[in-house]
């Protein structure tokens, strides 16, 4: 496991070399070759047309999909040696999906708490952290509202809070503003790039929107499953 930095959590150094992944027994190549390096605290946007393999690449970076070829290295440690994917996601990574994927029968606060299941924090610390995030996102009055009763924009903001609650060192965002209005999208991006609780996480952002990509330090094009170095 990558040791915790002594200072406030800084971003992770991510290095992907020649990542590749296909489906249907190799008949459907999703990512042919992806080479990517993200410096600690850097935000990188990946742009490309639908079906070019952006989401699959993000899934590989989140250790949700194992790459068939290539290597993923985080802070100099190969991902294969980082332990289980669950542990890496629990302790290191925050994911924002294009669709919020909240659990509809839980409240907003309970949804935000989900990544902290099994964490070393006390119940009080967890509640404080959730309250801090919801307050920062202007959702403190909706904390006890069931996710099913939130508006679309509120749901995506809660999903962002859920991604940030474990103070990740790497944030992976897949079209985070794709399903919200522009005002909510701006608020969401503000908090994505400057998360409440401090720290300077590394960010890999997948988007179609040049305006969103423009918030990143670098923009990389991806086409036909290839992300060139």
């Amino acid at each position: 496991m990558i040791p915790e930095p002594p200072s406030l959590r800084r971003g992770v150094h991510l290095l992907a070399r020649g990542l590749g992944r296909s489906f249907e027994g190799g008949l459907v190549p999703a990512v042919r070759r992806a080479d990517l390096e993200v410096q600690p605290g850097e935000a990188v946007a990946i742009m490309g047309p639908t079906g070019c393999g952006k989401s699959t690449l993000l899934a590989m970076l989140a250790l949700l999909e194992p790459p068939e070829v290539g290597e993923l290295v985080l802070d100099g440690v190969p991902a294969a040696r980082l332990g289980s994917g669950e542990r890496v996601r629990r302790e290191l990574v925050g994911i924002v999906f294009q669709f919020h994927y909240l659990l509809p029968h839980l409240s907003a606060a309970e949804n935000v708490l989900l990544p902290l299941a099994g964490s070393a924090l006390s119940a009080q610390q967890r509640r404080e952290r959730v309250a801090e995030l919801l307050h920062a996102l202007g959702l403190e009055h909706r904390a006890r509202t069931l996710a099913a009763r939130l508006s679309g924009g509120e749901r995506q903001l809660v999903a962002l809070a859920r991604a940030l609650v474990n103070r990740p060192r790497l944030i992976l965002a897949d079209e985070p503003t794709g399903a919200v209005d522009s005002a909510t999208g701006k608020l969401l991006l503000d908090h994505l790039f400057a998360p409440a609780g401090g720290g300077t996480p590394s960010i890999v952002l997948v988007t179609h929107d040049p305006a969103v990509a423009g918030r990143a330090h670098r923009v990389l094009p991806m086409r036909d499953g290839v992300l060139p170095a």
């Binding site: 989401s55 699959t56 899934a59 989140a62 949700l64 999909e65 289980s84 669950e86 542990r87 890496v88 996601r89 629990r90 302790e91 990574v93 994911i95 999906f97 994927y101 659990l103 029968h105 839980l106 309970e110 708490l113 989900l114 990544p115 902290l116 299941a117 099994g118 859920r162 474990n166």
Partner: protein
């Protein structure tokens, strides 16, 4: 957010589904209560027989496998009666025959004492005295065969006068008939043999100690206290084991039903479990959520079981009366803790398959599904 809280929320999100699961478990648990209660009642029937005759000891052939297949000689009966500390002996001959479709009609040959007559719960007429060609029939046998005091009963080719209708509360006795000992020995070709001997001890004599003494003195005979006697016969144990098996089977069937319902729910919840995995939840933790959910159904179902059991017993009231005590009139409240434990212990069965399927979901692929 603990896994238990999530499981609790899952229980309440679809009340109709949860109610169905709780009722399924409740029915299984109530059958468990009834069957285990009946197993206890079954043994109590035989203990009651010993008490009815005022006997503390049962003397039978060593290594006998059933009361009606073993015999003691008349000489042995006499020797037992002479043992110091024995107040009285009741030789009993048991036979089984077919009577109008009842393949297990039990005939008890014994010479009744005043103590026994007094111990009957109900007696119309009298019991047949030694040497008489008469019969007393149990209340259920009398009802089934249309017999009454003053009538006749054709038993094994012999026409006998019905002189009494009795009720003991003992199922086999109340479904059978009592004959004078000699007549029963004659009908079942026992000669002067008897099936076993019930012995009453003198005041101050320890029945357990007396049983040990008799077993030591007479090789080939074994004496036990009436309570122990019941538990010695493999057939009785088998019947009890079978009832326990049925009880456990009911729980298993209930849990399989819950498993089927949860697997249907899994189709709707697949994406939620994938999300939990994507958020870093361990496979085991996701599985525990499902186990905990079934655990909640188990506890609620077990708590509901006494009420459902009482309702079931009420519904089968007429049948229960015929069973003459084999099926308890009410659920045995002492068995509720055992039922709760057994139901909770069986609950992982209901969770096993849905949990296994949930933890095997590939998060990325599941989230990509439309």
């Amino acid at each position: 957010m603990s896994f238990f809280r999530l499981a609790w929320c899952n229980v309440w999100r679809q009340p109709a589904r949860s109610l169905a699961c709780t009722l399924a478990v409740g029915m299984g648990a109530s059958f468990y209560l009834i069957f285990t209660g009946s197993a206890a009642a079954f043994l109590e029937q035989f203990e009651r027989m010993g008490r009815l005759l005022g006997a503390e000891l049962v003397v039978h052939r060593s290594r006998a496998t059933s009361p009606w297949s073993a015999t003691l000689t008349a000489g042995e009966v006499v020797q037992l009666a002479a043992v110091e500390g024995v107040r009285r002996v009741h030789p009993v001959a048991i036979g089984r025959t077919d009577v109008l479709g009842d393949h297990f009609f039990m005939v008890f040959g014994l010479d009744p004492s005043a103590a026994m007559a007094a111990g009957l719960r109900q007696l119309d007429g009298r019991l047949p005295p030694p040497g008489a060609q008469e019969v007393a029939v149990g209340t259920f046998a009398a009802r089934r065969l249309g017999l009454a005091v003053g009538g006749t009963f054709d038993l094994m080719g012999r026409r006998l006068a019905v002189v009494g209708v009795y009720r003991t509360g003992h199922s086999l006795l109340d479904h059978g008939a009592i004959l004078p000992l000699g007549l029963a020995q004659e009908l079942f070709n026992l000669g002067d043999h008897v099936s076993f001997v019930l012995a009453a001890t003198r005041e101050g004599v320890d029945p357990s100690r007396m049983a040990e003494d008799i077993s030591a003195i007479y090789s080939g005979l074994e004496a036990t206290t009436t309570d122990m006697w019941v538990s010695m016969y493999g057939q009785f144990q088998l019947a009890r084991s079978f009832l326990h098996f049925l009880a456990v089977l009911c729980l298993v069937v209930a849990m399989v039903s819950v498993s089927a319902v949860l697997q249907l729910a899994l189709l709707a919840r697949a994406r939620e479990y994938a999300i939990l995995r994507a958020l870093g939840w361990r496979r085991a933790t996701v599985g525990v959520v499902i186990v905990a959910e079934v655990g909640v159904f188990a506890v609620l179902g077990a708590l509901l079981a006494p009420l459902l059991g009482e309702t079931l017993l009420l519904a089968v009231g007429p049948l229960r009366a015929e069973s003459a005590g084999f099926v308890a009139p009410h659920v045995n409240l002492r068995l509720i803790p055992e039922t709760l434990l057994a139901t909770v212990a069986a609950s992982p069965l209901g969770a096993l398959l849905p949990a296994w399927r949930a933890v095997r979901l590939a998060p990325a692929r599941t989230l990509r599904l439309p």
